[in-house]
Structures are given as C-alpha cells and as structure tokens.
C-alpha cells in the first residue's frame, strides 16, 4: 500500500543534506510551512540555498533559519520588508548571497523546472538591472530576456489537506507557490492541517495531484483515515 504520510515533522525532513537547494512556499506568512522550517532548523542541515518569495519576517520561520546561519544563498523577489532585519544584517555583512528575481519570473522559472522546460523568453525585466548580461531576443517586434528554470532538491510547502497518495488542496491565498514548488523539487514535502482518506478530496477540486508530492505530514496530528472512502458526491 502506498502511504506518503510520514509520522513526524522530523522524519519528513530527516534527509535534507548540507548544500541542498530548498524551496519554501509562502507569500509572507500566508502558506509558509513554519513547522517544517522549525523541523529543518532542528535537523541541522547547513549551507542551504533557499528559494522563497521573501527573506523572512521577524525571527520566526525562514528568518529563524537565516538567524541560525544555515543559509548560504537566498533566491527571492522581495527581501526588504519592515521586519526583515535578520536577512538585512546577514546581507550587509556579506554572509548571505542574494539572487533577486522579479516575482513573475521567479514563479515561471519554478514552473518551468517542474514542467521540463529548458528556458524561456520573458518580457519582464528587459532593459533593467535585473536582466544585465542575459541573452535577449526580439520576437514579433517585442524584446524578451532568456530565463532558466530553478530546480530544487526539496520543497517545503503548506496545504490544507492531503491524502496518502499525496493529493493536496490549499487554503485561500496560502496556495501561492505551493503547487509549482511541489512540481519543481525532487522531493516535495507538504505539511497539512489534516490528512484525509483517499476519496475524501473531490477529484475535480484537487489542486496538486499526488505525482508531485513525495511526503505528507500532518501538523496537528489529526490523521483521520481509518479507511478509504468509496466515493464523494
């Protein structure tokens, strides 16, 4: 029987290796897999490259991972926030490298990795500092910049519910980067508010099909799958 549900947060991140590229879902606090990040801090992997939209808030979640000095490089679109002081200090002292990517290019580069695309031409950023040194091409009279996919060893994402095949649904704007990061990582780990039985998720409404997900872990340990459901109306 296939069961992608793992027993604990610690088990879910046990094999994250030093030097790994780790995508972390979330747009600010919405969709941020805070418990998985805490587990990664406890696990101890270092020299990580982190892909996220931001670079941490306050001293929790991604900011706590940065503060623990586990991160070598951040790939993101918007590091500077009113409460990003942990990142700001590490960046200014040269302890963390930053690759700044326009938000839509970040999303599309992640999607491209998951979709097996080798690169794509995008109009976003053309003629700006963020396209300096990049290949450009004029297509049908419009200028584009060549961008490459961003792949990851692991993705840590947050979803509302998942089943033992790894099918996921999300909650409101917490969805943000979850579906595309799951596609782009060799090992996608989803923390969910609750695990559900096979069949409980409406097949018409599943957002991330289980093929993109390797591990599911319930955060509040509310595993409620005594048996697989036959059908859902």
């Amino acid at each position: 029987m296939i069961d992608k549900i793992v027993a604990s947060l610690a088990a879910a991140v046990a094999d994250v290796h030093d030097g790994a590229t780790v995508m972390i879902g979330g747009f600010g606090p919405a969709g941020q897999p805070a418990e998985l990040i805490d587990a990664l801090i406890d696990q101890g992997a270092r020299d990580l490259t982190i892909v996220n939209n931001n670079a941490g808030n306050g001293e929790v979640g991604l900011a706590a991972l940065l503060k623990a000095r586990r991160v070598r490089k951040v790939i993101c679109s918007f590091p500077r926030q009113t409460d990003s002081y942990v990142f700001d200090a590490l960046y200014r002292s040269g302890e963390v490298e930053l690759e700044l990517v326009p938000q839509g290019n970040l999303a599309e580069r992640i999607r491209a990795a998951g979709a097996g695309i080798g690169g794509f031409f995008t109009p976003t950023g053309h003629g700006t500092l963020l396209a300096e040194g990049k290949e450009t091409r004029v297509i049908d009279g419009r200028a584009y910049v060549l961008e490459y996919p961003i792949r990851a060893d692991f993705a840590l994402i947050k979803a509302l519910a998942g089943d033992r095949w790894g099918n996921l649904i999300y909650r409101k704007t917490g969805r943000n980067f979850g579906p595309i990061m799951a596609m782009a990582a060799k090992c996608a780990i989803a923390q969910v508010q609750r695990t559900v039985s096979l069949g409980e998720l409406d097949p018409e409404a599943i957002i991330t099909p289980g093929i993109f997900v390797q591990r599911v872990v319930a955060v509040n340990a509310t595993r409620a799958d005594s048996g697989d459901h036959q059908a859902v109306a």
């Binding site: 500077r80 200014r92 930053l98 938000q103 053309h126 700006t128 704007t173």
Partner: protein, 218 residues
C-alpha cells in the same frame, strides 16, 4: 492653485476604470483607488499573490491570515472570486489579460519609462516583487504619484535617473497637478488641477508638455 489630494487623485483614476475591467492596484497610493470605485460598477480587482475578485478589508476581528493582498494586508474575497497559484497569477499579467494596472512611481520619463523599484542607493537592499511584471504586463499602465519630489523637482523627467522597472510601458500619469498621457507625439496634458494654468504646469514639469488645446482628439 488647488493641488489634488491623494483621495482626489484616486477618484480621478477611478473615473477611468470601466465596468468589467480586470485591474491590479499596486501597493501604496494606488490601493486608495478601490475606495472610489462606485459600488454598482463591477470591476475585478486582481492581487498578484493569487486572487481575483478582491473585496475590501475585513471587519476588525474577521481577519484571516490566509487571505491577504500583495501588500500582505488582510482582505476579503467577493462572491464569485477565485484563488490560484503564482504562475497562473503572473500569467494573467504577462499574458496581457489584465486591462489596467495602477502603480506608484519615483520617476516617469517623457517616453513612458518607469522607475519605481529601487533608488540605487549604495546601502539599499534591492527588492522588486511584482513591479516589473506589472509594468510590462497590463494592457494599460497608469501611474499615480506626486508631481514633484519633496525637494520640488519634477518626477516627470526626460530620462529616469533611478534604475528602470520597464521601458516605454506607462500610458497615463495621474498627479496632484494634472493627468498626462504618454503619446508618440509627446506628453499630452488631459486635464489640470483647478486654478493651475498650463504655463505654470509646464514650468514645474521641466519636460515639454503638449497643452490640452494641442490634443489631436477634439
């Protein structure tokens, strides 16, 4: 002269947003526009973190940490609204599906170049977010800003001195002094604040403007 207040500029922008438009309001000043869209006019507000049909701020105590806008403020979803992931959200922009986006700016050039993401200062930590995607993505890009810097310099310039967000992407500029279109013929004044003459506007702007009387459209 009566400078337009921030709310008056927002109301002026709202006049140009028709029913049925798909619209992204950038962070800061542009968010005020939502307050001036008449209730009976159906306009679809897009927020790049992944929602269409964005509603107003929730009542105190009703905030949901999973329901926020691009500025990370709590919002609501209108009946009929939808959530989607980031690649779809930016496809809506880059793919030309948004009718209008309204952005703030540091500077706009005479040819519609936009600078609004980075001051280029040596100690500034660069952050771009969705600014570059919005600048090139929407069918029409409206800029909303003060006409002058705090030091009295024109923010409408011959060439931007700040790092660019997009090239030739701005269609219309709304300031506390005037509404100005970026056209192939130059910067065409559409209307001016009450009590402000064209000569005075021209003197403050420092880039050649075309007066309302020079408009090709009667």
């Amino acid at each position: 002269m009566n400078r337009r207040s921030r709310d008056q500029i927002a109301a002026r922008v709202a006049r140009d947003i028709p029913e049925g438009a798909y619209v992204n309001l950038g962070i800061g000043l542009p968010t005020l526009v939502a307050n001036h869209l008449p209730r009976e006019r159906e306009v679809f507000l897009h927020s790049e973190n992944g929602l269409l049909g964005m509603g107003p701020a929730p009542a105190p105590g009703e905030e949901d940490p999973d329901l926020i806008n691009a500025g990370k403020q709590p919002v609501t979803l209108l009946t009929g609204g939808a959530y989607f992931h980031h690649a779809d959200s930016f496809a809506m922009m880059r793919g030309g599906h948004l009718d209008i986006c309204v952005l703030g700016a540091f500077q706009v050039s005479a040819t519609g170049d936009l600078a609004n993401w980075h001051t280029g200062g040596p100690d500034a930590i660069p952050a771009v977010g969705g600014a570059m995607d919005l600048a090139i993505g929407a069918r029409k890009v409206f800029v909303m800003m003060e006409h002058l810097t705090k030091g009295g310099e024109s923010k409408i310039v011959e060439r931007c001195s700040y790092p660019l967000t997009g090239i030739g992407c701005v269609h219309r500029i709304y300031t506390d002094l005037a509404v100005i279109d970026v056209t192939p013929r130059g910067l065409q004044v559409i209307d001016v604040a009450d009590g402000l003459g064209f000569d005075e506007l021209q003197r403050l702007t420092g880039v050649r403007l075309l007066a309302v009387s020079e408009s090709v459209v009667a």
